[in-house]
């Protein structure tokens, strides 16, 4: 097949993936603590599409990676005493299903029946030392959570919500359920604050995503035109040469 046709096909494949990413962002426009994804594209450096008669390089487009827009989502007041939002960089630490530490920006916590601070999926929230946090609420009506994460019940500090911060956000990958997995240790100091009774909204910007949606549709049509144009050209060549 012609290079033009292959290039058109690869472009369409990448655009479909871009649409998937935009669709996932828009589906999560109301997900607490969600961070928008962007597909990063590059010229493929190792798959030159040379042609014998044309010495100039033709390069395919390739998806290089997904970057996360880590900017702060809006803080929305909920009034629930166990809702906590992070203002600034950093992640809450939770105990994953196999005991490993996982990270989340979703601070919609509750207490389990034995007084453990948990996420809404039932994963234990960890303190800075990596241990679950136990709160006895029978003594005090509602504990207060300080800006530094200290949980004060009946005037006594009963625990401190741990926040992990990473120097490179690329060191984390998403695993679903609003959880993230780290590939490096938390390295940066936490310089933000925690806000009790509030949650961080998704940072997806609908205008950006909808604009991207239009752009993807149009680019896809152009790529399809390349494919059909090449096809046209070849058909005419066969017809003309066959005469």
């Amino acid at each position: 097949m012609d290079n033009a046709q292959l290039l058109g096909l690869q472009t369409q494949r990448v655009l479909q993936r871009r649409l998937d990413v935009a669709a996932n962002n828009l589906a999560n426009v109301n997900t607490t603590g969600f961070k928008a994804d962007t597909l990063v594209l590059e010229e493929a450096d190792d798959t030159d599409a040379h042609t014998d008669d044309n010495p100039s390089d033709i390069r395919f487009v390739r998806d290089l990676g997904v970057t996360r827009d880590m900017h702060q989502g809006d803080i929305a007041h909920t009034g629930n005493p166990f809702d906590v939002a992070i203002q600034g960089d950093g992640f809450f630490m939770v105990q994953g299903p196999n005991g490993q530490t996982m990270y989340t920006r979703d601070g919609a916590f509750t207490l389990s029946s034995d007084g453990q601070l948990q996420t809404s999926d039932g994963y234990a929230v960890l303190n800075s030392g990596g241990a679950p946090i136990q709160i006895d609420t029978t003594e005090d009506a509602t504990p207060t959570i300080g800006r530094d994460g200290a949980i004060i019940a009946a005037g006594v500090e009963v625990g401190r919500i741990g926040v992990a911060n990473f120097a490179a956000p690329g060191a984390l990958s998403k695993v679903g359920d609003n959880l993230w997995e780290a590939h490096n240790n938390a390295s940066a100091p936490f310089d933000g604050v925690l806000i009790q009774g509030a949650l961080e909204n998704s940072n997806v910007r609908p205008v950006v995503e909808l604009t991207r949606l239009i752009e993807i549709s149009r680019a896809y049509q152009s790529a399809a035109n390349i494919v059909s144009g090449t096809d046209d050209l070849r058909r005419r060549a066969i017809q003309t040469l066959g005469q």
């Binding site: 479909q16 993936r17 649409l19 998937d20 935009a22 669709a23 996932n24 828009l26 589906a27 999560n28 426009v29 109301n30 607490t32 994804d37 990063v40 190792d46 998806d63 290089l64 990676g65 997904v66 970057t67 909920t78 009034g79 629930n80 919609a108 509750t110 207490l111 389990s112 029946s113 034995d114 007084g115 809404s120 999926d121 609420t137 029978t138 003594e139 005090d140 009506a141 490179a168 060191a171 990958s173 998403k174 695993v175 679903g176 359920d177 609003n178 590939h183 609908p206 995503e209 909808l210 949606l213 239009i214 993807i216 549709s217 896809y220 049509q221 399809a224 494919v227 059909s228 096809d231």
Partner: protein, 261 residues
């Protein structure tokens, strides 16, 4: 192309969000109703290239991965147990809990149900019952000759009987408390049942540490905030529309493909 199913998951999530919001608005005037909020989480990710993977050509480590999400799911519908406002009714058998705690009602099965709605009354036998007729636990019986019934902040029920000057104590109400009240199971009629998530009920007289006090002649209003619900409704509706727009875009792209030849 996953976009179609991703957008469908987004539309389903927003549909449920609208259901939850409409339930809140419908119960705006329900005594002691606690508003709910739908919480969402992203679904799992397809790892087309894990972050930190080694690139095959020259051994460099990729700083980014290619992770494509597959949509959104509903994580929980959480009940917000914030205190509602107090509405003065002057009905002697209306009670509100100021602070934490639930009234206990005995269901016909003998099971205990919990409620914050204290719109009580006395039945033909003089027993204190809920508006649906379930007896309040511990049982309080008001004698027919009682004139003025008073309920103190700590739950002591007293009545002045005709011909007597000193009021007579009829009993003391107890309220139940849970470690995680948001984990109670709502069964309708303003009642809740204990679940493994809520923890077992601990009962005490009102005013004990960690328990609220009773307010006679008041009812707790719902804690639904109309302005908040309407603005959430707008957000949910717009989010639904945006997801529908993704479906249109994906459809257009597929149409383009089928029209290539």
């Amino acid at each position: 192309m996953n976009a179609l199913s991703i957008a469908a998951s987004g539309m389903q999530a927003q549909q449920l969000n609208v259901d939850v919001i409409s339930h809140n608005i419908a119960n705006m005037n329900t005594t002691a109703y606690k508003r709910q909020r739908a919480e969402f989480a992203d679904m799992l990710y397809q790892n087309l290239q894990r972050p930190g993977a080694t690139s095959s050509s020259d051994g460099r480590v990729m700083p980014l991965g290619i992770q494509i999400g597959v949509g959104v799911r509903t994580d929980a519908v959480a009940r917000q147990t914030e205190q509602g406002g107090m509405n003065k009714t002057d009905n002697p058998y209306d009670m509100a809990v100021d602070g934490r705690g639930y009234f206990q009602l005995t269901l016909p099965s003998g099971q205990i149900a919990y409620t914050r709605a204290g719109n009580f009354a006395v039945n033909a036998d003089g027993q204190l019952v809920s508006s649906d007729g379930y007896p309040v636990e511990p049982a309080i019986t008001v004698p027919p000759e009682a004139t003025a019934v008073s309920i103190s902040r700590d739950g002591i029920v007293e009545a002045t009987l005709t011909g007597q000057t000193a009021p007579q104590q009829l009993g003391q109400l107890e309220i139940a408390n849970f470690i995680n009240p948001a984990g109670l199971e709502a069964v309708g009629d303003n009642m809740f049942l204990e679940t493994p998530a809520s923890g077992t009920a601990t009962t005490a007289t009102p005013g004990q540490p960690g328990y609220g006090t009773l307010m006679q002649g008041y009812l707790e209003e719902s804690n639904v905030n109309a302005v908040e619900e309407i603005s959430s409704l707008i957000v949910a509706q717009r989010a639904y529309e945006m997801n529908a727009r993704v479906i249109t875009a994906a459809d257009e792209m597929l149409q383009t493909t089928t029209q290539v030849r």
